[in-house]
Subunit: 450 residues, 2 copies
Amino acid sequence: MTSRRAFIQQTAWAGVGLSLLSASNVFATAKEKVRLGFIGVGLRGQNHLELALKRTDVDVVALCDIQQRMMDAALQLVKESGKPSPQIILEGNYGYRKLLERKDIDAVIISTPWEWHTVQCLDAMNAKKWVGCEVITGMTVDECWQLVDTSEKTGMPLMMLENVCYRRDVMAVLNMVRQNLFGELIHLQGGYQHDLREVKFNDGQKPYGGGAEFGAKGFSEAQWRTQHSVVRNGDLYPTHGIGPIAMMANINRGNRFTRLSSFASKARGLHEHVVNVGGKDHPNTKIDFKLGDVVTTMISAANGETFLLQHDTNLPRPYSLGFRVQGSKGIWMDVNKSMYIEGQSAKPHQWEEAKAWLEKYDHPLWKKYGSDASGAGHGGMDWFVLNAFVESVKRNVTPPQDVYDAVTWSAITPLSETSIAQGGTAVDFPDFTRGKWEKRKNEFALDDRY
Amino acid sequence: MTSRRAFIQQTAWAGVGLSLLSASNVFATAKEKVRLGFIGVGLRGQNHLELALKRTDVDVVALCDIQQRMMDAALQLVKESGKPSPQIILEGNYGYRKLLERKDIDAVIISTPWEWHTVQCLDAMNAKKWVGCEVITGMTVDECWQLVDTSEKTGMPLMMLENVCYRRDVMAVLNMVRQNLFGELIHLQGGYQHDLREVKFNDGQKPYGGGAEFGAKGFSEAQWRTQHSVVRNGDLYPTHGIGPIAMMANINRGNRFTRLSSFASKARGLHEHVVNVGGKDHPNTKIDFKLGDVVTTMISAANGETFLLQHDTNLPRPYSLGFRVQGSKGIWMDVNKSMYIEGQSAKPHQWEEAKAWLEKYDHPLWKKYGSDASGAGHGGMDWFVLNAFVESVKRNVTPPQDVYDAVTWSAITPLSETSIAQGGTAVDFPDFTRGKWEKRKNEFALDDRY
């Protein structure tokens, strides 16, 4: 019983040399600076903007949004940075196309509502821009295919800015996976378990809480994100959970997802929240939210691993992405901050604190850039994901998370919707690489470059 | 949006009065002593025997097994107890039928290999014995139906001796569920995550480890349990995980399971273990174990809850039944020993230690009998499950876990096998109550009686 995965793992590491070789080729055409445009400078876009403004290898040349309030906040960040004023585009939903017309822009960062991602990514690639897009790239399987087809046709890379792949503990565990501490990977878990009730409802002034409003009467994410909970039932936000474990299991690189089944619980949390915050006569108490409070998804992979994802955003609960990485020699879980490695952990059948393991296997990227990332959003991981995108553009290399990852991770949402609508029926997972997964190599975070 | 569950919950508590009333009726026919026969006195049967011998309300009148070594150990227990010597039956696989012929036996405790449970339960009920059977009652859906039909036809109750329903923390959480601390239940998890490699393989002398033998060359559970991992792929041991959470969600009592889907990972753990322990040339290295190392199962329920079960017995990992009980107001998880109850926990979005909650809501049964149970197997819960069976026989009342629970929990195995064999297809869950679930009341552990 040979281990196909171990083989792939070795070749992935062996690929470092190859990758350095190709890197030296592209350095001939490498840029020193990236000229960036921002499509969407709401709260998330402002996070990216602030990090970009701190970089000496980025020029922020244009900002686009549809709301004066958000643009004012973004311009304040520019002012504080002392950098030159960018072009300001405030011309409604399709104003971003004006930004894309500028030939001097290399790349765009898209941080808009999910439903705008596909069209904006497509337009940007067709305009020959590199695309760094916030998570959820493709709300339907058809949109996912459009993104793949357009990236392949135009030759323009799309990187989904999935930051959790760069979380410090996650990268240490990736390091452990690659050094075979867990043996052959068997089962992996992740999810998005985050009480978003005060994100989905607010008072129309503050971004978080204080009211039971959403849509036109809400502010920030409540303006658009909540509507997805009204009309859709599926794992609406799979990428933070699946991205890191997909990378560990070499999905799209010698492995691929094959089948998926999802179950959704009843929907109670959002209604109860509206009643509690807005009162029993609030108009939003009449809404029948379709999104089940807890959505559970199982996925199988070509190399025999199973994946479990949980989406849980409507109930009172502490935050947890629920990671579990389990192989033939050991297991890590983040909810109890624990590790067990056979033959190495102090006592058989006993958890030990993960802390010492995570420090010992701290990833080279974090060792090198941890101080640069310090203070950046979400514990520093936001710095790494933007850095990876900027470095990819500069070096003219495919981003470490590419278009196939972007759509594979995002497609979990529509696939889970289909499965749930069909009573949990298992559905086939599309192969967005069209067979290329068999020979592709994993180059994500192979060393300390980006 | 009224809560059907809250209604059922209230009526379940209201049912206490009714239950006392019927109890007073049956006291007319209550027995002071139960005359018990033991079918199977291997290691598990010896646990039950030892507890039975300590009771003043039980006479142990016959023991049956197929192995002299196990019988000798059982008789040593009898001797140490100072109780009268029981009849000894050592007459091969069907010797138990001789035990069932005795008219003076009220009830039997069955602790034999899984594959013998159904026929022995059927024979015992047909012989008009109360049946307390170790877990897994019915290895196929057809066997489950046979058990239901025979119990209904003969009027003889079958209680599966699922001890984890009586675990102290589980009962405290059940108490919290009934006092509405979690609000309306939304999602529940459990499982059997226990590294059984040294149970499945031993040296033929010791029950645990020391070799790579099983079947005819193994000893104790390895003689029969391991073979299930050779030929079956499914959640082979669902009852410890599902029993407690099914009771909390009133399954078969105002609620029922509706659909199930299972995914299995690849199988690596047992082969690697045989190689590590027996060497790469050991004959058992040639076996192709069918059981996936991690089997994940989702189940939906009529009242809209979702359930997640995990079976994980082939890999190095710390023991955990992986319980999670989540409602509209709070969540408990056992792997991180944590609780969060909205508005009551100290800090929003922060776990707190479950300990104080579990002590505060310690179940009345544990308060009353905790000292009796002290020292009994599996942290005391073995005492409670035997006590519940003996008390049910004495009072002539349906056991708190009845034949419908026994087969509903056990049927998860064959249903998961079917689902996995069909690529994760969701399958319908049979209604073993034939509609009675709608009106049945939950009488499990309603007070401090049994």
